[in-house]
Assembly symmetry: C2
Homo-oligomer: 425 residues x 2
């Protein structure tokens, strides 16, 4: 049997569909928006240039294009994809022709190639690439077509080709996107990876320029440079590239070379008696809008410790028990949201905003207020609340936010409903 | 009431103590080794130079010294701490005298100051610092005393002072450390932070040198430089510092400026019938030694997706349901281990090591084999198994490893014992 990831075979649909399908297949797993990707990343093939060449130029291959981190879309709910022939003028006929060692050896810091990322194989497509009789599916890539450096003219041509007469546009700003769940997951992977590459053109260890390798999943610090550097070059031919200063990332493996994901805790805090929920609000949010507290996990903290620290720092509340609920990738720019439910300790429920000045307000709400807000008061930050919402009542984030899922977990059937009521093996 | 983190008031003890104390106080929370810090980080005070000055020079202040990332210890189970007067020759009488804006403005890339980190306040010490009548405890700092650059002589003097006639040594290598649980958590915070600073002397966004700020918790990319750079300086007086190239990290907030923690998944996988457990081994491990599979979470994956991908890539096994069990900070160099239990799907239990070549072997073990190994076959990687171990039987990691806790969770009372059997509110 060919290896196949047990990804649920979902129709492209909205968040609730993913949720219920995963529940049927995997038990009570809460699948949050931006997770649920249909792609098999086959991460071990990212260094296999024969595979990458084949994947690049297959009849089923799709390219998700980004202009300044904005994806090409058909409409706010659907991505648009380009073909290899669309992007060939920009990336050449085969950027994976050489193996990686040769590419590193030939490194030239004065060259600029648009960032290309291999995303994975969609094995739902039965016409997809078959590699080594073991890995199959339609290949997906992400490509940065932002007009910049010496690719301005070619990039603009590609942009014109994919937008002219198609109605496709580069969606500006995340508030204008409401992608169906599976495309949201593909978009999240692509955006996170393009953003990471664009933030790391230099090596934090030695300060020298880095090179994209591993099909976009690594930034290498090459030992030599074939460029004629202004004011400092000693070599003029590619045969005798300049030696660069030594760098610790070339000895062994350094996390600096690999994509960064920032673990973040986000938590619904219930009162000691389980009757109320703590919510907070930022100063720029719409009136009456609250959400769960959140913050970055710090070095050498467990998730539970990060939850207790963040809640105390932002609201003064002392949390005892913490239960992890579910997780959500969040590609703005690079977060893993770890959703938890915490319970305040009986003598620690007094709100005090004076420690950290992050929140404009924090407040205890009854379960009933939260239940009602989940029913009629949810919306995106820039949108109006739903029909039935009464001005002055609590407003909450939409179902695509893990905050919403956490609150749902708490108020419908007790906060442990989504965590504990799993059928046991 | 003064704000106080609800950290359990534990005696310095071993891992099992932390585990049972946390269980009593917080319900069935599994506290792994390296978590359970007694320190309140008061993270919002890291930019308050008045607080930092007071914390630095208090009668209860402790400095944990590191030489090449090795901590000063009394013996393998206990850290040794230095006083302000010990380190004053190296850091000066008050490195926090100026506020941060002034420090950034005065940035001079040719200066070198040893890395200093504020770790937190231990509020169990009733003689500790009291700040603004709200924050109290004995301050803890970490300091890098590695002899380097132009501090070689002063650093060597400090090292001599703290080791001569004390019997204290800088523990070499993590295999030689078996710190009591709470000191392990302090050490983990300090090591993670010192390592992060030492890996990031340059800005990955622009390639220019960075400056430690926020009491060691941030690396800033200053807009000017007062150094006389060799071959390129245009200014000679600090009054007219050289403007540096622009950098995106100075506009708004960039994650590059803040410590990095890499989320990692580690998982006990049980067979579809719940009777066996999947374990794997690396090529360099002692004979018969196995552990749970593990790997880095990638951008835009939920924890559950990362577990399924890693298990399939490393072993060919297809995992369905995934339950998060507990988390563990792991400061080698910068991981958050997210422990999970997964269940193979019925037709996905065939082991295939050919996808990713990471493991030397992967194998299904019976619950009884794992139970017996937890009883007599656990030890550190470099140690012998316990008494009662029979050559040829399974060996497993010690209780300080989350792998051990995951397996314990599975074989004692069913894998959901630690996750599901919580008293509901």
């Amino acid at each position: 049997m060919a290896p196949r990831l047990p990804v649920p075979d979902l129709p492209v649909a909205n968040h609730d569909d993913v949720d219920s399908m995963l529940s049927r297949k995997f038990g009570k797993e809460v699948a949050n928006y931006f997770s649920g990707s249909p792609l098999n990343r086959v991460s071990f093939l990212r260094t296999d240039h024969t595979f990458l060449s084949a994947a690049l130029n297959h009849s089923t291959t799709s390219f998700l294009l980004f202009n300044k981190l904005n994806p090409l879309t058909k409409d706010p709910t659907q991505l648009a994809f380009a073909t290899f022939s669309d992007v060939k003028p920009l990336i050449g006929s085969d950027p994976y022709q050489q193996d990686e060692k040769e590419i590193v050896k030939a490194y030239n810091s004065s060259a600029f190639t648009p960032q290309l990322i291999f995303l994975g194989l969609d094995d739902r497509n039965k016409e997809g690439l078959v590699y080594k009789d073991a890995y199959r599916g339609a290949p997906f890539f992400a490509l940065d077509v932002t007009p910049q450096k010496h690719i301005v003219a070619e990039a603009e041509k590609v942009i014109e080709k994919v937008t002219k007469d198609t109605g496709f546009t580069f969606a500006e700003g995340r508030m204008n996107l409401s992608l169906h769940a599976q495309e949201a997951a593909i978009y999240a992977e692509a955006r996170h990876m393009l953003d990471w590459n664009s933030r790391n053109p230099f090596c934090a260890q030695c300060g020298q320029p880095t090179l994209s390798t591993n099909a976009g999943w690594k930034r290498s610090c090459p030992p030599t440079d074939s460029a004629n550097l202004p004011g400092g070059a000693t070599s003029t031919t590619p045969e005798t590239p300049r030696e660069r200063a030594s760098c610790a990332t070339r000895q062994g493996i350094s996390n600096l070379s690999f994509p960064r994901t920032d673990p973040t805790v986000i938590m619904a805090v219930v009162s000691a008696d389980g009757e109320r929920i703590l919510l907070g609000r930022g100063g720029k949010w719409p009136k009456y809008w609250y959400s769960t507290l959140a913050g970055f996990l710090e070095p050498a903290e467990s998730v539970e410790e990060a939850v207790r620290r963040e809640v105390w720092e932002e609201s003064g509340i002392h949390v005892g028990r913490v239960v992890i609920h579910s997780t959500q990738p969040w590609p703005y720019p690079a977060n893993l949201m770890i959703g938890a439910v915490g319970q305040a300790i009986p003598d620690g429920e007094n709100i005090h905003l004076g420690n950290d000045a992050e929140l404009e307000d924090a407040k205890w709400f009854t379960l009933e207020e939260v239940r009602e807000a989940l029913r009629v008061g949810t919306s995106g930050l820039g949108e109006d609340a739903g029909p039935g919402y009464k001005e002055g009542d609590l407003r909450l984030p939409p179902s695509t936010a893990i905050a919403h899922q956490l609150l749902k977990g708490v108020v419908h059937g007790g906060f442990l409903a989504g965590v504990v009521d799993r059928p046991s093996i």
